[in-house]
């Protein structure tokens, strides 16, 4: 089973920024992603107690290296300042590279 290298972009952010992220991905023609609610702690304090609006969400995107740069750049530029957010990139490998 041949595996192909690709990138996994993970964004952990406040839940009210999820829409911004998804819209931004769509703008870059990325429609595949996985999301789930999480709790957390960081520079903006403990998140995930109280109202649902104060939870975090993780958005995971398997994406080719070509697109990765632009997406990371735009997220950093437009969202880092105003939202609780952490972003990281990892190397993964997949079977069906044509899916991404």
């Amino acid at each position: 089973m041949k595996l192909y290298d690709i990138k996994l972009l993970t964004i952990t952010c406040e839940i009210l920024a999820q829409k911004n992220i998804i819209d931004l991905l769509k703008k870059h023609e990325i429609t595949g992603y996985t999301t789930y609610e999480v709790d957390g702690n960081g520079a903006r304090g403990i998140r995930g107690q109280g109202f649902k609006n104060e939870k975090n969400v993780k958005v995971e995107v398997i994406v080719r290296e070509e697109k990765l740069h632009d997406v990371v750049e735009e997220i950093s530029r437009t969202l880092f300042a105003n939202f609780a957010m952490v972003l990281y990139v990892s190397d993964v490998s997949v079977v069906r590279t044509e899916k991404f």
Partner: protein, 361 residues
Amino acid sequence: MDILQLIQSNLLTPVIMFFLFGIIAARIKSDLKIPEAISEFLPIYLLAAIGLHGGIEMRNTGFENMLVPMFAAIVLSLLFTLNHYQILRRLGKFNIFDSYALASTYGAVGAVTFSVGLSFLKDQGVTSEGYLAAVLAVLEPVAFIMAIFLTNMAVSKQIRTKRQSFAKDDASDIDMGVHDTGTKLSQVLHESLTGKAIVILLGSIVIGYAIGESGFSSIKIVFDEMFTGAIVIFMIEMGIVAGQRLDDIKKVGLFLTAFAVIMPTFNGIIGVLVATAMGLSLGGAVMFGLLLASASFIAAPAVLRHAIPQANPSLYITSALGITFPYNIIVLLPIMFTVSAIVHNAEGSIDLFHFIAKDLI
């Protein structure tokens, strides 16, 4: 003194006691917590119950009488929002984003506060006009829409000013703070108009109106008799969340703390007087005042984080939930009730109306 007695008897209702209990549970760092699914469901349930009740009432009483109070509520809400902004920006020295966000948080309405108000009136054996549920629904987005509109205007002006004074290569820096504000307005409008609170409230009003008393009978036990019990459960969670925020009150500062108590009192009493002048009942005037006094702490963050992301959410959530909400339901409700009782017993409400009108302009 009458007020103090009323506050005391209000304190001893299950709704308020379970709220205070929730605060204490949070302060002693108990792991008590209403599961998320329940505390997300309860506001939907409460709004459905409020809406159904309001709709049924409106079917009984017609809704001709509703237009003047509705219009008055919208106008007052807009005026108050502008007033908040001036106070926060000029006296409070908050930046433009925080000022608009806070102004609209306090210009908007709180559905949970409204529920508690209804249960307060029930305890006092007093009713209120059913159409106030419709006023609640309409008022929900009003303050947001204005704040968003004004913020957008202000930001566009800023951008233009900066564009003129700086070189073009700096544009991206400005973008970081104020990116694509232009296109965002319609999106945020859609969001705040299709927000779950408005949708369930308006829907339930229409359904209540359509089904009437007889259609309601089969669901009365769930949507009427269980109402206060459901509020009590929700108030535990509200208390816990408010209690967790108490530490943040320091960060909120003295000015905003005072604002969070004085402003609702001012708005609420004006509301009671105007409502009385318009001929609303004793209870109706209290609810009208409460609409204007209340601040939004569930709907506000959802809208404002997108509309004015530069504003610091912990300012508006903490002050609305941690200070204004407890103050409103524990202290201000009895105050407004007393004021309403006094002006409803007094005569010459037309004169009163003139007096208020002068005051506002």
